[in-house]
Symmetry: C2
């Protein structure tokens, strides 16, 4: 059997290679570059085909497909969300994705996206925080110290200059894990025994909790004026993190209204609740923070364009490196109409 | 760096392994078993989550995602359709797909689906023909002798007992290629110089042409009473193969109305044009052919459940064989909340 042609071969970034690539680039550099990549795509928001992700819900979780295209490239991510997985020793969120050529429909990159999703989610929070937090913000409260937390913290350190983080999780062992992982990061780490304690004096609050039912991690009387909140964990129907009164008091910024309406904190609010699309703040078409006292809220649910940016970033970064393999993914006969002949010749050659 | 855990590894069927698996099983046996697998899933049609596929159209083609779930497994296919690709030496249709566990969201199988799509499309035509053609049908007219044609012909031989095929393509070299490939198949092959000549005396007509604009490969005065037609090539908006008068005269059977309405021959017809869902014929809830004189038309566009059946069939068939590799696709840290720790340890171990 002859070797597949180069058209049959798609670059594949395994988990092992993604980890090696991140270390090759440097984690904080990676997060900073990825933040800029996402921001560049938010600046050309209107060039993208956009739709809410396509979910398949079950009693225990959700599997989603997240496609988008800028007319030159097409990208999609497969991602699941299964809060119960953690108890079985599995990841709550795993994913993989593909970048393809719109011109031919052929895939250009296939990559793991469990790690990459954590990285792009952190980069997106950093982008929102860069545009919405008070100037000189130094202290972050990180509520929920699970798989996303270290990435969120390091992105805010690298991109926004955060110096100290106040950690809280309902499970103290998660806080300990997060603190151990960041012991040599240069960030000051403060263990807190309640969400209320964690947000004391914080300039930025990031919530990243995972349970799939209406939570009120933060209630209204806890929140001081002037903070910026990234609410990251509420990302599917019925899953919210903030008390409705906080959402009502804050100025809300979001990614794609049609998706946030059914997945974000916005699902708690009436249809006429005001919000600003984040891309319009980035392009200067809309105002971000209006005063030092304003509470700004980024109601982040994760949108396909962020994955598209991440896929393009990886495709560029692996070029000329050894951080990928070739997968024999696309049947590519010598004569395109002769798929059958390729199959038949494989038999005689084997 | 330590090896990935078994949870990180997803079975991957490359093009090379798919070809080897087909030969291991035997092509006609494969087509017969796959037809039965699809039919078994059509029998439990109501247990599936169904939606029209999610397309991303451009001037030159389309990229589509086709998900479905039966509550136990979730499957999706990525597939493109780029008629112009052929002239550039590329496949018009390529694809790959994933089967996953609904319970955990973890992928169970990743496979090439360029070959597998040709096989399942042929199996679906065979299933429709088995239920709709006249008993004792022996002669097939195959209009369009491109990449799909040999698979369509062999499936109708294996499943429906077709003995002779009348071949026609606007490009005689395609017909020659098809005839050469089937020279030792045991089917009588008749080269025809027009579509009109090809359908003379045929019991079954299959059209599989690829151009993305309104075609009328067959016109009404060509079609005799009693034939069964599989119209396979019209599978996206603006792409049809049959003259409207044929569609009007035939009894129409189709897969999923919401998708066929925008992609199939049905797009030519008024909203109240009658049709029967094929799954209801298979379960006995609706009548198929009512008389020897009736013209039956399967307006096939390809539906996600057929790919789901194919994914499950492949997942079962590769078990215990060497026709797959393991891909390091899912980040799976020892402690599920410690994704960051896995990344950090990869650095110190490298």
């Amino acid at each position: 059997m002859s070797s597949p042609s180069h058209l049959a071969l798609v670059p594949f970034v395994s988990v092992k290679n993604m980890m090696a690539l991140v270390h090759h680039i440097g984690l904080e550099t990676f997060l900073t570059e990825l933040t800029d990549e996402i921001e560049a795509d938010f600046k050309r928001w209107e060039t993208f085909d956009k739709s809410p992700r396509l979910p398949s819900h079950s009693d225990v979780g959700v599997i989603e497909l997240m496609p988008t295209s800028d007319g030159e490239h097409y990208g999609f991510k497969y991602v699941n969300g299964h809060p119960k997985n953690m108890r079985a020793g599995l990841q709550t969120v795993t994913g993989f994705g593909v970048l393809a050529s719109v011109d031919t429909g052929y895939p250009l990159l296939f990559t793991e996206m469990t790690l990459l999703t954590a990285l792009r989610t952190a980069a997106t929070s950093a982008m929102a925080t860069r545009h919405l937090a008070r100037k000189g913000a130094k202290t972050l409260a990180m509520i929920g110290n699970g798989a996303q937390s270290e990435f969120q913290i390091l992105a805010l350190k690298a991109v926004c200059g955060i110096k100290a983080v106040r950690l809280y999780d309902i499970d103290p062992s998660a806080t300990q894990k997060c603190a151990d992982n960041l012991a040599r990061s240069g960030i000051e780490l403060i263990h807190c025994r309640s969400a209320e304690e964690a947000i004391e004096g914080a300039d930025v609050i990031t919530t990243a909790t995972a349970d799939k039912n209406m939570q009120t991690i933060l209630t209204d009387n806890m929140i001081g004026n002037g903070v910026h909140i990234n609410a990251i964990g509420g990302d599917c129907p019925g899953k919210t993190e903030l008390h409705r009164d906080i959402v009502a008091r804050a100025s809300m910024f979001l990614e794609y209204p049609a998706q946030t309406r059914i997945e974000g904190e916005l699902q708690q609010m009436p249809l006429d609740h005001p919000f600003t699309e984040l891309w319009q703040v980035i392009t200067g078409q809309a105002l971000g923070r209006r005063s030092e006292d304003e509470i700004t809220l980024f109601d982040g649910v994760g949108f396909a364009i962020e994955d598209f940016s991440a896929l393009r970033y990886i495709a560029r970064k692996i070029t000329g490196t050894s951080y990928f393999e070739h997968l024999d993914m696309i049947a590519d006969p010598d004569e395109p109409r002769d798929l059958f002949g390729m199959l038949a010749r494989a038999k005689s050659a084997s």
